[in-house]
């Protein structure tokens, strides 16, 4: 039972969190907390379990041991009421639909943040005028930007971003950093993974290092 006061409880907290597949440890045990307004980098080599960690934190995978607390309460899939947005290697976009159709579906499923529309979101990721293009005709980097626009639209306070810088050009990397800054200033928080080539450059973000299990 958690007795933490939800007001001062951190947005996200991991307590001796560990995950094993087929009895082989993937990561952990890990202890960390993420406050509102914070962006934290998860660093580690390939195979160190970064993606798995994000899946466990989002509730897609159940931890082998330990627990994940969201606002001081145990996280289960049922409780994830519009609070967590996950952007993985697979973007979750349909190639046969246009960018706007994809975003409208995301809103239907996840809800809409106040004061923003799909068109505005597309404009702020630099895809103004691409709204009615089928996603199939966009480049890999542009598809990634559509997925970033989805993050702006849904009212999730916690962003879990798996390699958000991959496939993006210099402008795109700056865009991700700008979006993260904006999200953090608005009281949100984000966990991002990176294998080190690109990184969140604004300020000096906290880092969590993952090591490949022996």
């Amino acid at each position: 039972m958690s007795t933490v006061d939800p007001v001062i409880a951190p947005l996200l907290q991991a307590r001796s969190l560990a995950y094993a597949r087929n009895e082989e440890p993937i990561f952990g045990p890990l202890d960390f907390a993420l406050a509102a307004g914070e962006v934290v980098l998860i660093e580690g080599d390939n195979g160190s379990g970064k993606t798995t960690l994000l899946k466990v934190l989002s509730g897609l995978l159940e931890p082998t041991s330990g627990e994940v607390l969201l606002h001081g309460e145990a996280l289960t899939l049922a409780k994830l009421s519009h609070q967590v947005a996950l952007l993985g290697h697979l973007l979750g976009l349909k190639l046969e639909l246009t960018a706007l159709e994809n975003l409208r579906f995301a809103i239907g499923l996840g809800g809409l943040r106040r004061g923003i529309t799909p068109q505005l979101a597309l404009a702020s990721v630099g895809l103004d005028g691409y709204g009615d293009q089928p996603l199939r005709s966009l480049s890999v980097g542009q598809k990634k930007r559509v997925a970033l626009a989805r993050l702006l639209l849904v009212p999730a306070a916690l962003w879990l971003l798996d390699e958000p810088y991959a496939n993006l050009d210099r402008d795109g990397i700056e865009l991700v950093n700008r979006l993260l800054d904006h999200h953090a200033r608005g009281g949100g928080a984000a966990l991002i993974t990176s294998h080190g080539a690109y990184a969140y450059t604004s300020g000096t973000p906290r880092r969590i290092a993952l090591q490949a299990a022996a």
Binding site: K94, L95, L97, F105, G108
Partner: protein, 227 residues
């Protein structure tokens, strides 16, 4: 409908899947072609005598439709898994069983309904007596949603596998034996002038049960497959 509410989510999912199928409407014809081909093969194998064909007509059409649906089942979650949409569905705050029920409904609407529409044509090919046709249509209207529902549970169990075709058939087949027995049985009873209401009522009862349980089971199975 407020964006983010469960009804909005279901509506968005229905709209998205229907749009997707409309954009790939060529693929949607494949099950119908398959069913016509299977039915057309039987006269070649058994000879063209109307009396022979008439006797096997209802059963053949039933089997052809079930096979056509079985082939299309594999695609139920396939593309959603490959592009990551399935993760987004599972992570959404709405009951997964309800979202899956929407997907199953779409599957039935876009594969089974067109198949049922061409049944009168298939019935003519095999000289099915006119008085049996309504019974066959009712039996199929009850049996095909059952197959979509039971199939969805099995697809959810095999969703992570690259080649699940044969295994899926193995999983689904024993579960739909009763559907086939009652469905085709009702038609055969009607053809020989016997009472056919009881098997149809059984199908209806089982469909009601599956409507409630199968989406829940599919959601549980999907969670097992994704972890």
């Amino acid at each position: 409908m407020k964006p983010g509410s469960t009804s909005a989510a279901c509506a968005a999912l229905l709209r998205r899947d229907l749009t997707l199928i409309w954009r790939r409407r060529g693929d949607a014809l494949n099950p119908m072609l398959f069913a016509i081909i299977v039915v057309a093969l039987f006269p070649f194998a058994l000879g063209p005598e109307p009396a022979t064909l008439q006797r096997i007509a209802a059963g053949t059409i039933f089997v052809a439709l079930l096979l056509a649906m079985l082939l299309s089942l594999d695609t139920l979650f396939r593309s959603d898994l490959e592009d990551g949409s399935l993760e987004q569905l599972v992570l959404s705050p709405h009951p997964l069983a309800l979202l899956l029920a929407c997907k199953i409904a779409i599957h039935w609407l876009t594969t089974a309904l067109p198949l049922i529409v061409i049944v009168p044509l298939l019935a003519q090919l095999l000289h099915l007596p006119d008085r049996v046709l309504p019974v066959l249509l009712v039996a199929l209207a009850l049996a095909t949603p059952l197959l979509s529902l039971i199939g969805a549970v099995c697809v959810a169990l095999t969703v992570g596998m690259r080649r699940s075709g044969m295994l899926l058939t193995l999983l689904v087949l024993p579960l739909i034996v009763p559907v086939l027995i009652f469905g085709a049985g009702a038609c055969n009873a009607a053809q020989t002038g016997l009472a056919f209401a009881a098997p149809l009522l059984w199908l209806g009862a089982w469909l009601t049960l599956a409507l409630v349980l199968a989406p829940l089971a599919a959601a549980a199975a999907l969670k097992i497959s994704l972890t």
